[in-house]
């Protein structure tokens, strides 16, 4: 018996409706509804290892703003997102911060780094 999963592609603003068919072993048999290659690879990843880019802020000492925006440089496992929110909430960095600066390596044992997403000068 095969299984059909339907969801919206989040790879771009089009938001195509995807249908993925899986065989008994949980392997992807087909992807329908996508209009590009990104959609096909998103569909495969979404059923096997769903991931999202995480974006938040960290507290900053001595910066022109009290917080600095950060992101996971690459998509992180969806199931780990709440662990990541706590790790990021616990972090405080010192100004100045440079865009792209790695603030947490391999956050929560994932393969994703948390990096600053803007320059933030010291006061």
């Amino acid at each position: 018996m095969s299984e059909e999963r339907k969801f919206i592609c989040v790879s771009c603003p089009l938001g195509c409706g995807l249908t993925v068919t899986l065989d008994d072993a949980g392997e992807v048999v087909s992807v329908e509804g996508n209009t590009c290659a990104r959609g096909a690879s998103y569909a495969r990843s979404e059923v096997k290892d769903p991931r999202r880019v995480f974006a938040s802020t960290v507290r900053v000492k001595g910066g022109k703003l009290p917080v600095c925006p950060v992101r996971s440089k690459t998509p992180a496992p969806k199931g780990k997102l709440f662990d990541i929110t706590r790790a990021v909430a616990a972090l405080e960095v010192e100004a100045p911060v440079k865009i792209g600066q790695v603030l947490i390596h391999n956050v929560c044992g994932t393969d994703a780094d948390i990096v600053a997403s803007r320059d933030l000068e010291a006061v």
């Binding site: 507290r59 703003l65 997403s117 803007r118």
Partner: protein, 420 residues
Amino acid sequence: MSERIDVLIIGAGPAGVAAGIGARREGAERVVVLERDWDLGGILQQCIHPGFGLRTFKEELTGPEYMHRFIQQAHEAGVEFRTNTMVFQIDRENNTVWTMNKERGIEALNPSAIVLTMGCRERPLGAIRIPGTRPAGIYTAGTAQRFVNMEGYMPGKRAVILGSGDIGLIMARRMIWEGASVEGVYEVMSWPGGLRRNIAQCLDDYGIPFHLKTTVTRIHGQDRLEGVTVAQVDDYMTPIAGTERYVECDTLLLAIGLIPENELSRMAGVDIHPVTGGPVVNDLLQTSNPAIFAAGNVVIVYDLVDNVSDEGLIAGANAAKFAAGKITSAMRIPVKGGENVRLYSPQFVTGEADSTIFMRVTHPVETACRVFAVTDDGTELYSQRLRYARPGEMNEVRIKADKVKASPNISNITIDIQPV
């Protein structure tokens, strides 16, 4: 005697920064961008989530990352920025721009051309009449976004979101990630205001209930918000008796639409379109005042920042051409919206260059349809098949300059979307 400026740009958000680049690349000598904030980037500074620039950079950037790239390009192009500078008046007689800055005091600038790039504002609570009290805890989604992402404050612990514009959807996820709960998103229309992918990745991922044809009918609480009454609405958006439900919350976020910010445009005497709320422009992005150009969300509220930047580049380049005496023409062939067109921009086509008309449908079309442009003499200028057309997603009508030039007797162009 004021200093010589070729192109003066008001607002250093995505449209203004791109306009600066466009003007310099077109050869304008002195290009100055004025910004009232201490920092450049406009609203994208607080849009820290990814989703920007896929078309321009072939990768999804956060708002600050997207602006970082454009600001670098602008510096390299020789664009001058003046921050902490407020424009408080534009004189319509001679296009004098009055600015205020702590160090420089009050100055009158007389540029050869102006680009308006002030962006838009959120519709506030006062724009919709909700009965009940007016306690603390009610914010526009963008205000809450600024609190959380730039100032380090959480607006509350238990939120209800009214309206399903993208900022509201993004803030729903943001509140969840910061440890708050989101009781639900309520949309008065029968379709979502924001992109489908934001419904998926911001609401569905976290099990946040999304209710269409439902609105907030009463606000409760004296000092602090304690809850809201929500009710379903009929096809005329009237609450249906008996469907009321009380939802406990301490925060109400409003994501009920954006309005182009045109106080200065009005002072400058440019014509404002009654439906878009932005300046009437031609495809050169020139307003009814030939020396004044406009681009981005000050003209019409776009879905994507990539479009805003593209329009900024065009407006800046044409302002530079005007400053050099290479453009005079104002408005030319009028564009009319067909039956299922709610709003569109530009409203005139010159045929001087290929151009794009951005439009939104009034009602969703969920079947195959086509978006097209046809002249009054029956010449088809554009036709493109679509799988659907939805009010929340802009459609584009691409007009080729040579097709316009080939029909010199056109007196108007109609754009529309119809099922096929």
